[in-house]
Amino acid sequence: MSVQDLIRQRFFPHLWCPGCGHGIVLNNLLRVIDAEGYDPYSLCMVSGIGCSSRVSGYVNFHTMHTMHGRALACATGIKLTKPHLKVLVPMGDGDAMAIGGNHFIHACRRNIDLTAIVLNNRIYGMTGGQYSPLSGPGVLATTAPYSSIDNMFDTVKLASGAGASFVARTTAFHVREIQSILKKAIAHKGFSVVEILVGCPTYFGRKNKLGGQVELMEHYRDSTVPIGSKKLEENPHLIQRGIFVEEERAEYCAEYARIIERAVKEQ
């Protein structure tokens, strides 16, 4: 099987803007699936609304393009019904952390075996550049013309605190790292969260005078370091990349299977 067999080729070229980081993530996700030899019939992708959510239309798996923020809740229903499916849930920062924030923390808490991929471009792209809960103070956006005063979530801390058993972060610049992290995240038995910092040159880059995708890629190269890097001593504002949490914990569907066993026996 080749990567071509994993996509719906008739829908390409994709709808993302030139320079958008989402295509890089899709590319690397497909390479991981190909390399690991996953049967596409065993894969399900559930997405919400926004630029990132259009990933589900391009992959030739069982796919469900749902409502804004609701992908994890829909995916929970699928996973409980068909626990053998590998369920991948790509989400944008607004989709996952604002309108879908409640579903996100509770999916973490349940530790249900889904792979949440948060494509964080720090902006609502599909609607034209409004600030998101991951924009942070000082960011310019169409709804923050004087700059945003909203504090941001730290996806890694939020997911770890809420109980996800696999939590990682990387960027669209670090493609090999995307592959090594996604490989582990998909194989992980439990709720995995992979935050990938991606550039949105059209809105975030342009509004904040950060340049095009090349400059945004350089920005992610220079503003991030591996977990625990010595560079943090000089500059504590650097963003850490890598796997923050990787633990074996009781997984929701496996636990529910035991409930079924008990209920059947005790009748």
């Binding site: 796919t63 609701r70 229903g77 019904t81 068909k82 509770h106 529910y256």
Partner: protein, 385 residues
């Protein structure tokens, strides 16, 4: 035969709903605690794992409805249950189920609203919300019942309609029916018809179109995790399930979503009638208020007044033809309901003389009583106050 062998029990409406759902083959429930529907979740939490099904208490009402959509597409007959505030929150995903044509059943055990309202009191104020709660043009099936045996039967019908027409079906019960107890007789499995999911006959490796109708108009399904990979979206879509902005395809989709139910209103109509043959005054009612209406009608008959009752079990699509027929010879039509006239306005719209249609209601959280009904009918009929 012992009572157990005949499967007779004395149960609440909410439990009868659970029994009906299990009879119909429900395998998945997602919900959130809310009065007065909670017993449905509690009992399914116990029953579903016993049959290898799944119960999950989600983080909120929105998530419950979303999980139901996911589970149904993965192949399970799925349902949720709620009351007014939760029904409001579920509207987004109910719209998704309408658009993506996902079979599922949504129970709303009504309380008085708006907002938190009267959580433990009776009302029937969500009739129009069931019809128009989610945005955009669409059609929906909504059913109700006034007694425990009917709750059981109507719940099975709701699942059957959901599967037949690939649509969410709303069960609009109310607090009185949900919590009162009556005798329930559960017939042996197989005695009442149960519609199983229509699976596609498209072979493995052949393209499956989730929205390509058969000759009879039905849309066969495949399951996530099954033999076909397919796409589902809340966007306007083509027969492949992929987004479209093509005007012809968009028009066709919307007409299909509306026509598939509105054109079959006569097939979807379920009702009961009492003493309608020679009735001069026809009462129309549904849910718990129909019990009071029936009490009134039977009392009148004993006194020689020719009153009759049409009890609606299908509220949406509104059974226009049925209501026209049954009221054609009536001098007066009285609609008994616990709201400001949500079904009354439908009745007025279909009869020849809307000025002869009168609303008898109560809005204080109390069940409308036979004497409430009697006092208004006396005035209208000119029999004094």
């Amino acid at each position: 035969m012992s009572k157990k062998e005949r499967n007779i029990s004395f149960v609440q409406g909410n439990e009868a709903c659970v029994r009906g759902a299990l009879y119909a083959g429900v395998k998945f429930f997602a919900g959130y605690p809310i009065t007065p529907s909670t017993e449905i979740a509690e009992q399914l939490a116990r029953e579903l794992p016993r049959i290898g099904g799944s119960f999950i208490q989600m983080e909120d009402e929105i998530a419950s409805m979303c999980a139901v959509c996911g589970a149904s597409l993965a192949g399970s007959k799925a349902m949720t249950a709620t009351s007014g505030p939760g029904f409001s929150l579920k509207q987004e995903a109910i719209g998704y189920a309408v658009m993506a044509e996902i079979p599922c059943v949504v129970v709303n055990v009504q309380r008085a609203g708006p907002s938190t309202g009267l959580p433990t009191k009776a009302a029937q104020g969500d009739v129009n919300q069931a019809r128009w709660g989610t945005h955009g043009d669409h059609s929906i099936i909504a059913m109700t019942a006034s007694g425990i045996q009917d709750v059981f039967n109507v719940t099975i019908e709701a699942f059957n309609f959901a599967e037949t027409y690939r649509t969410p079906v709303i069960l609009l019960f109310d607090e009185v029916v949900g919590h009162m107890r009556e005798k329930l007789v559960i017939p042996p499995q197989g005695e009442l018809p149960v519609v199983e999911r229509l699976k596609t006959s498209v072979k493995v490796g052949v393209n499956y179109h989730p929205y390509l109708p058969r000759e009879d108009g039905r849309l066969p399904m495949s399951d996530y995790g099954g033999e076909h990979r397919f796409h589902v979206t809340g966007l306007y879509h083509n027969i492949w399930g992929f987004p479209t902005e093509n005007p012809d395809e968009s028009h066709r989709l919307l007409r299909h979503l509306v026509d598939k139910l509105e054109n079959r209103a006569h097939l979807l109509a379920r009702w009961k009638e009492h003493h309608l043959e020679d009735a001069e005054s026809v009462l129309i009612s549904y849910g718990s208020s129909a019990r009071s209406a029936l009490h009134h009608v039977e009392g009148c008959r004993a006194k020689g007044h020719r009153h009759g009752l049409l009890e609606l079990q299908t509220l949406w699509p509104f059974p226009k033809q049925l209501v026209r027929e049954k009221t054609a010879r009536a001098r007066h039509v009285f609609v008994v309901e616990m709201n400001m006239g949500q079904i009354t306005s439908q009745v007025k719209a279909v009869v020849d003389d809307p000025d002869n249609v009168f609303l008898i209601n109560r809005l204080d959280g109390s069940l409308v009583t036979p004497s409430d009904i009697e006092s208004i009918i006396r005035v209208v009929e000119g029999r004094g106050v």
